[in-house]
């Protein structure tokens, strides 16, 4: 009799939380909440099935397995492994209480909304559309270099012992305020050199303002670039239009090609917003990679109240998931051949699955990341800049409001999101985007329940792809082991 048996003689076996899946003829379990992935053998599967069917006592389970022809030593070893790995347990399932992060969690990134102005009038834009939450009245249109420098000082101060920090430039259309961007990069490099830290930069742009001078600056300073574009001319110009209704495709594509040709020092990704009029995943992907020349393309549905015409809706989301699945299997084929596919949604999820990430929060907002508005107001993230929700201080008036930050982190922890407590996908999802929840439910702490089935479907798909790659070309996964 083992020690555990002696302690709990009358208890029956139960399954712990996990998601079982099969890929390429191998059975796997994805354990929750640890995020660990194991291949499980035949006796292991028989144990799980039996435990699921009848919740046996140890004696009953050993008897069943003995009848099935397994040797006592094998039964003992398998039961011990499954129990200690928390795949099965005796007694009731009492999940461990999640831990709150330490106070003053070191900041890693600020997103500077260096302008709240834009030269496009995209129908679905969360900054200017009907779902706008930012209140820019009375705020400057452009962030001054002084405010940007205060923001960088705040980042360095709040980053604690972190050796590397990151500044992201955002808008509006970011490049409408290129002067502040340029001085900020120089300032951040100088200050970080003094502080002994490494600094990296990225920006998001609609590409309308790109010229050779700007691209050369971007390239010289190794700035990562995300370009917003929704596909070919017909699809892009449905939503991404100038204020006079003119489409932006013909303006941006030559500039994007110039960017791709001149900027080789950091990644350049396309960011596609899917909406009711645009859910053609493969068509968009093929156009952006083959015709425009992007190596990496990521997709995201427009954040919108479900009553909006451009809201993607449940039916379209099914189309999107089918499109994602189609491209994801192509990613799998490429990975098995040792090639890097450009569908970044798969890549990002595989990276999280590979490390076994188990999130307490859906993203870094308020934790390692903060947004700053043009006037210097600090917010939860770039999406909440200048809104009444998620205010977290001012860069020149006391810096980060730690009390507000702690209060937010306490109420938005996965432990406080009761809807998520029985979901196997919570190690990767952790409840979903705060902004999405706020626009949909008026509450940042609500779980984004309208995406639950979709997220579980997506994670199951990525787990199967991960499992197959792990069996047939495991060296491909080494690229996710960096850091």
């Amino acid at each position: 009799m083992s020690t555990t048996e002696a302690l709990t003689p009358a208890l029956t076996y139960r399954q712990c939380e996990f998601h079982a899946f099969e890929s390429a003829g191998t059975q796997f379990v994805y354990l929750v909440p640890s995020g660990s992935i194991f291949a499980i053998d035949k006796i292991g599967r028989e144990i799980l099935d039996r435990v699921k069917d009848i919740s046996p006592t140890r004696e009953e389970l050993v008897g069943f397995l003995t009848e099935r022809g397994y040797a006592p030593a094998e039964i003992e070893t398998s039961l011990m492994e499954l129990e200690f790995s928390e795949v099965i347990q005796r007694g009731d399932l009492i999940p461990p209480k999640p831990k709150l992060p330490e106070k003053n969690f070191p900041l890693q990134r600020v997103v500077l909304n260096i302008t709240n102005q834009c030269n496009l009038a995209c129908t679905y834009c969360y900054e200017y559309s009907e779902d706008k939450i930012s209140k820019t009245d009375g705020k400057p249109k452009y962030m001054t270099p002084s405010v940007a420098e205060s923001s960088i000082d705040m980042l360095i101060k709040e980053s604690g012992d972190r050796p590397s920090i990151h500044v992201t430039f955002f808008g509006g259309e970011t490049l409408l305020n290129f002067p502040t961007l340029r001085t900020s990069v120089d300032y951040a490099k100088r200050k970080c050199a003094e502080a002994g830290k490494h600094v990296e930069f990225s920006l998001t742009t609609n590409a309308t303002m790109l010229n050779e001078q700007i691209v050369d600056f971007i390239s010289e300073h190794n700035i990562g670039v995300t370009v917003s574009i929704d596909g070919d001319r017909e699809l892009n110009d449905k939503m991404r239009v100038f204020s006079d209704g003119r489409g932006s495709y013909d303006v941006i594509v030559p500039r994007i090609k110039m960017l791709l040709q001149r900027h080789k020092t950091n990644s350049i990704g396309a960011r596609v917003t899917l909406s009711s009029g645009n859910s053609h995943v493969r068509r968009i992907y093929e156009h952006l990679t083959q015709e425009v020349g992007f190596y990496a393309v990521g997709f995201s549905p427009a954040t919108a109240n479900p009553n909006r015409l451009y809201s993607i809706g449940e039916t379209k989301m099914e189309t999107v998931l089918q499109g994602f699945e189609d491209l994801a299997w192509e990613y799998r084929d490429w990975a098995l051949a040792g090639r890097q596919h450009g569908f970044t949604n798969v890549n990002d999820t595989l990276k999280e699955l590979h490390s076994g990430m188990s999130k307490a929060y859906p993203c870094g907002a308020g934790l390692g990341l903060l947004g700053v508005g043009t006037a210097g107001d600090i917010s939860l993230c770039h999406r909440f800049v200048d809104s009444d929700v998620g205010k977290m201080g001012h860069v020149d008036k006391g810096g980060v409001d730690h009390a507000a930050r702690d209060q937010f982190l306490g109420t938005h922890h996965i432990g406080a999101r009761y809807d998520c407590h029985t979901c196997w996908a919570r190690p990767v999802c952790a409840g979903g985007c705060y902004h999405e929840a706020f626009v949909h439910y008026g509450d940042t702490s609500a779980a984004t329940l309208h995406y639950c089935d979709w997220i579980r479907g997506w994670n199951d798909l990525c787990l199967r792809i991960y499992g197959e790659i792990s069996q047939q070309n495991p060296s491909f996964l080494d690229r996710f082991s960096e850091n």
């Binding site: 796997f28 379990v29 354990l31 640890s34 995020g35 660990s36 992935i37 194991f38 291949a39 499980i40 053998d41 006796i43 292991g44 144990i47 094998e74 070893t77 398998s78 011990m80 492994e81 499954l82 200690f84 790995s85 795949v87 699955l353 590979h354 490390s355 076994g356 990430m357 188990s358 991960y466 499992g467 792990s470 082991s481």
Partner: protein, 112 residues
């Protein structure tokens, strides 16, 4: 592990924790699953005469012949080694051996 094969990085951490929690006591010089020999921590890392194996797992590097009883055992270790009775019958057994490294030859042979 037998039934569970770790696939991702977190699973390897879980596996290490399970092995640490369930690992068995190993006899000296028993070869483990990966062909490793389990050495006792402590004694062989110091200059301690008479331990079963030297740091390489053999007996060539021992500071005194392996046939001699354990010098260190009779003072600092509870191992029931056949060493002279330090308290009653052979009180001065190690008097001439101030430093085991230099003076091990001066340890007397004791006849009961």
């Amino acid at each position: 592990m037998h039934s569970l094969k770790p696939i991702n990085r977190k699973a390897r951490k879980v596996e290490a924790a399970v092995i640490a929690a369930t690992g068995d006591v190993q006899a000296l010089q028993k070869r483990g699953g990966e062909g490793k020999i389990y050495y006792p921590m402590g004694c062989t890392l110091n200059f301690t005469p008479g331990w079963e194996v030297d740091i390489s797992g053999g007996v060539a590097g021992l500071c005194q012949p392996v046939e001699r009883d354990l010098f260190d055992c009779h003072l600092g270790c509870g191992w029931p080694a056949q060493v002279p009775d330090h308290l009653n019958n052979a009180v001065d057994w190690t008097d001439k051996c101030a430093s085991a490294t230099n003076d091990w030859r001066k340890i007397d042979i004791v006849f009961p």
